[in-house]
Symmetry: C2
Subunit: 365 residues, 2 copies
C-alpha cells in the first residue's frame, strides 16, 4: 500500500470546474429575464440548469473546486442557488465582455485555488441527463490534461445536419479520442450533411478541459491584452481588493469569444466524443424536443386542451391552455408577458426584447 503516492496522483488529476454562467438567455424570453436568466430557470430536470450543472461535477471535484463566473446582477441569486460552494467562488463580471475574459479570469483563479490542476470550462445552461457518463468522461479529460500541454474538447456526435452550431473536425479515431484538425464555423446545409455522413465532425459543445500551464501559454500568445488586464484581479482573488480590481480589469477589456480568439487558432487539440446525451437548449423549440409530450400531439409543460392543434411547444405554468386550429407555434405565458411565436421565427425573439427596451419596459426584460 502506498497511500501517499495514490493521493498524489489523484490530486494531480482532480481538476477545477469553471462554470460560465453569465448569459441573459434572451431566446427563452418571456420566461428568462435579466435577473432570472435561462441558467437559473428550471428547463430540464427538476432544478435550475446551473444547479444541475453543479451537481453534475461536484461529486468529481468537490464544491470548493467549483468556480462560477456570472454577471454582477446575478451574484446573490447564483450564491443562493449553490450554497455549498464558497461565496468567493462565485465571481461576478462587472460588465459582459463575451467569453474570452471570463475564461482567462476563471482559469487564472482556478490556478490560484489548485495550482497545476487541470481546468474544465463548462457552460451553465446545457442539458446533459447522463451524469455518470459525463463525470467519467470529464475525469478522463482531466487525466489527459493533467499530464502535459493538452486541451481536450468534448465533441457531440451530430444526429442531424445542424447549421446553427460550430463543428470540430477530427482525424481518425485513436482509442477513445480523436486528434482535432480544426474548428469549423457554422456550415451551410450541404456541408453539414456531408459532416453527418462523414463521421469525422462533431458539434462543439463548448466544454474544454485545459492543462493549466498550456492555457496560460495559449492565452498569453493569443490574448495578451486580456491576460495583462486580468492578472492583477487574479492576483487579488480572495482579498478585499478583488471586486475593485475586476472593475479595473473589465473597464478596458476588449470583448472576445474564447472560441474565436483561442480555440480556432490552437495548433493541436484532442476531441473526446461525448458518451452522454446533450442539448444546448438553444431555443424554445429545442426545449420542446426534451419536454413532456402533451395531447395533440404537442410538447411542453401545461394543462392543455387541444382541438385540431399539433406540433406546438407550450410552457404555461398557472392556467389552462386551449388551442383550436393552431400549429407550429411556441406559446409561453408568464405573469406579465405572453409570447406566441411561429417556430420558424423563434430567432426573432430578440427583436421583441429590442422593442421592449425601446419602449422603456425594462420591467419585462
Amino acid at each position: 500500500m502506498k497511500p501517499a503516492a495514490t493521493n498524489s496522483v489523484q490530486a494531480a488529476e482532480r481538476g477545477v470546474c469553471v462554470i460560465m454562467a453569465g448569459g441573459r438567455g434572451t431566446r427563452f424570453w418571456p420566461l428568462s429575464r435579466t435577473d432570472r436568466p435561462k441558467q437559473l430557470q428550471t428547463l430540464a430536470g427538476g432544478q435550475s440548469l446551473l444547479r444541475e450543472t453543479y451537481e453534475r461535477v461536484a461529486p468529481l471535484v468537490g464544491p470548493e473546486r467549483v468556480l462560477v463566473v456570472t454577471s454582477g446582477n446575478l451574484a446573490a441569486a447564483t450564491r443562493a442557488e449553490l450554497p455549498e460552494i464558497p461565496a468567493d467562488n462565485v465571481i461576478t463580471e462587472p460588465v459582459g465582455r463575451n467569453t474570452a475574459p471570463c475564461a482567462v479570469l476563471g482559469v487564472g483563479v482556478a490556478a490560484r485555488l489548485a495550482p497545476g490542476a487541470p481546468v474544465a470550462l463548462l457552460p451553465a445552461d446545457h442539458f446533459i441527463p447522463d451524469d455518470e457518463n459525463f463525470r467519467q468522461q470529464l475525469q478522463e479529460a482531466f487525466r489527459m490534461a493533467a499530464d502535459g500541454p493538452a486541451v481536450v474538447t468534448i465533441g457531440i456526435t451530430p444526429d442531424r445536419p445542424e447549421t446553427g452550431y460550430g463543428y470540430l473536425e477530427t482525424g481518425e479515431a485513436a482509442g477513445p479520442v480523436r486528434n482535432g484538425v480544426r474548428f469549423v464555423e457554422k456550415p451551410d446545409r450541404a456541408t453539414a450533411e456531408s459532416y453527418v455522413r462523414g463521421g469525422r465532425h462533431f458539434w462543439n459543445s463548448g466544454i474544454f478541459v485545459w492543462n493549466a500551464a498550456h492555457f496560460a501559454a495559449m492565452a498569453g500568445a493569443y490574448l495578451p491584452t486580456v491576460v495583462a488586464l486580468m492578472a492583477p484581479a487574479i492576483e487579488s482573488f480572495g482579498t478585499g481588493d478583488f471586486d475593485a480590481a475586476l472593475v479595473t480589469a473589465y473597464t478596458d477589456c476588449p470583448a472576445d469569444s474564447i472560441d474565436v480568439a483561442v480555440m480556432e487558432k490552437l495548433p493541436e487539440f484532442v476531441v473526446l466524443p461525448a458518451a452522454f446525451r446533450w442539448s444546448d437548449l438553444g431555443s424554445w423549440d429545442a426545449w420542446g424536443e426534451l419536454a413532456p409530450a402533451l395531447a395533440g400531439p404537442n410538447r411542453g409543460q401545461a394543462e392543455l386542451v387541444a382541438i385540431d392543434s399539433r406540433d406546438n411547444v407550450i410552457r404555461v405554468d398557472d392556467r389552462v391552455v386551449a388551442l383550436i386550429g393552431v400549429r407550429d407555434m411556441i406559446i409561453v405565458d408568464t405573469d406579465d408577458a405572453l409570447l406566441v411565436c411561429h417556430k420558424d421565427e423563434a430567432q426573432r425573439i430578440k427583436e421583441i426584447i429590442k422593442c421592449l427596451e425601446d419602449r422603456g419596459r425594462s420591467d419585462l426584460l
Copy 2:
C-alpha cells in the same frame, strides 16, 4: 291645450322593455363565464353590454318599465348591474328553456306592470352605439304596436352576405317601414348574396315590439302549453309565491325558440329597417371588428408587440403580448385560462367548453 289627452296618448305609447339576458355566451370563453357571461362583460363601450342595453332604453320608458329575464345564478350580479330598476323586475328562470318561455313570461309580466302597453323584446348582448337613433325607432315601433294587432321587427340592412343570420324578407317600402313577407332561416352563400343585392332582405336583429294583446293571441295560438304553464307564475308576480311558481312552470316547460315557435308563423308583421349601427357581437371575430386597431395591423385590447403578425384579434388585459409570425388568430388570456384559436375555427370554442366539462373543470366555465 289638452294636457289630459296628450298624457293619455303618451301613456298608451310608452312601452315596456323586456331584456332577455339569460345566455351563457360560450363563444366568448374564456372571458365569458357561467357566472359572468357575455352580457355582463365589457365588450363594447365602457360598461357591460347589459348595462349599455339598459341605458339605451331607460330614458324612453323609465327604469320601472324595464324587465330583465335572466338565469337564477345571475340574479345578484344582474341586480347589482342595474340598481335603478326594482329588484322584482329582475326575473330569474330556474332553468333555461330557450327563448319562447322567456318571451311569454316577460310579456306576461309586462302586461301586469303596464296593462295594454306595447312590449319590446330585446337581446341583452348586442352592440348598438347610436342610442338616440335607436330610441327614436323604438318609440316609432311602440307607436305602431300601441294601436292594434301588430308586431314590429327591427331589421338590419345587410352589408355582407352573412350566412350565420336569419333574414326578414319584405315587400316594397311603404314610408319608413316595410311589410314583412316571411322569416328566412340561415341562407347559403349564393342566396345570401342575392339578398344583399335585392334590397328586400334584412337581418333579423331579434328585437321585436308587440302589441300586448296581439302577443297574447299569437302565443295562445302557437305556444298554448307554455302559456298555460306560465299563467300562474305571471299571476303571482310581485308576491312571495312568484319564485316557487316559476319553478313549477319551468320544470315541465318545453324548450322552444320564440323565432321558430311564433315569429316564423306570423300571418303578418312589419319590418322597421334600423337607422342605427348594430352588431350581434356573435364571436371574438365580430368583437375584433369593433375593437380598437392595434399595431400589425391587428385588432383588440392589449399592450401588443407585433413582429410579422397581422389580422389577429387579441384580448389580454393584464400583461404584454408579443407575437411573431402569427396570423388570423384569436388570442384571449385571463387569470386562469389562455385561448389561442384560428379565426376559421372560432365556432369550435364550444368543444373546449365540452372538454372542460368532461374533465370536471367547471371552475373554468
